[in-house]
Amino acid sequence: MNKTVLWIIGGVVGLGVVVWMASSIANEPERDASIGFGEVTVEGTSLPVLGDPSAADPTLGFQAPTVSGADWNGNPVSIEADGRPKIVIFLAHWCPHCQAEVPEVQQWLDEGGLPDDVDMYSITVLTDKLRPNWPPQDWLEDESWSVPVIMDDEQRSAVFAYGMAGTPFYVVLDGENRNLGRFSGQVGINGLELMVQLAQRSIGG
């Protein structure tokens, strides 16, 4: 048997071993790809996509649409003009900045960082089964996330409603659902406290 034949046999056997090993590693139970999405309704005019994050948001004072949906347990959540200022945070399960931000925000909440006169909501966006840390509900439950959640739909209705530019993404709204500020990226505790001040200013707090 010449060397070439030996190389071919060795290659085929080696490839077979690699395929067998890969199939052993990849043996995970299947989960429905739709479980990371919800149903979202948007009423009102959507805000345009936030452009240059370092420039002033040209839509300050614009009325944001009412966005309604539910969390993974079916609990209804609505971000609407209810007379209370609010901070809305958009989170993508695969985004490393969101993964870093969530535990910080949760710790801040646990320590009473959010005053009683400001509400906070979250929206899970850009869900993709093929990306890591899926589904978002598993991740947020692991982080003991206590903020009400709307799961965005596959059409990205909530993303387009608020003109999300990147994740994490924050929108501060007054009691009439007017845009007080939109911020793209990790903000940390200092950023959250500034957003709270922004929200409270709308009620003279």
Partner: protein
């Protein structure tokens, strides 16, 4: 392609990545222990082996973008720019037994490796890329994460490393002739 098939494909490439890394380390150790004897043994096949690695990496990345529909990020594109030409340079060099092929290919391999290292670092430390994730394809997000450390730039970096090591064997062989 189903998520299960993607997971299988990721695992397959992860194993090939580990094999490439072990091979690269093994070749360097072999060279250190056996000296010129190791170079003489590997050199005749070095360009062909390097071409197989480049071809596997190229097809692997094309399957990710064209079949699985992962959108390549900016740094992924830079690594593609380094990897894809090597499939042609190394093939032509291997067929013609052209020693110049190593001179043309080595800068691509080393340059690609440096980009892979930077890309991998942005995945480990996302703040290097800025504070937010691009909604479509941020470089810091991991599409693939096998064994907790093998991501796409890790795969690419391993391929670039093995190609560079094989090419260095070829350099040594040519200098000995």
């Amino acid at each position: 392609m189903s998520a299960e098939a993607v997971t299988f494909y990721n695992s397959l490439l992860a194993i090939l990545t580990l094999i490439a890394l072990v091979a690269a380390i093994g070749l360097v150790a072999y060279r250190a222990v056996r000296g010129p004897e190791a170079v003489d043994a590997i050199s005749p096949k070095a360009l062909w082996l390097a071409w197989v690695v480049a071809l596997t990496a190229t097809l692997g990345s094309l399957i990710y973008s064209e079949v699985i529909h992962f959108l390549p990020c900016r740094l992924c594109w830079f690594q593609r720019i380094a990897m894809y030409p090597m499939t042609v340079i190394l093939l032509v060099g291997a067929i013609r037994k052209d020693m110049a092929a190593k001179i043309y290919a080595l800068p691509f391999a080393v340059g690609g490796l440096l980009i892979s290292v930077w890309h991998y670092l942005t995945q480990l430390f996302p703040s290097l890329e800025g504070g937010a994730c691009d909604p479509n394809n941020p470089c810091s997000a991991k599409y693939v994460d096998v064994f907790g450390f093998i991501s796409i730039p890790f795969m690419a970096g391993s391929a670039f490393t093995l190609i560079a090591v094989l090419l260095m064997f070829y350099v040594k062989a040519s200098s000995n002739e």
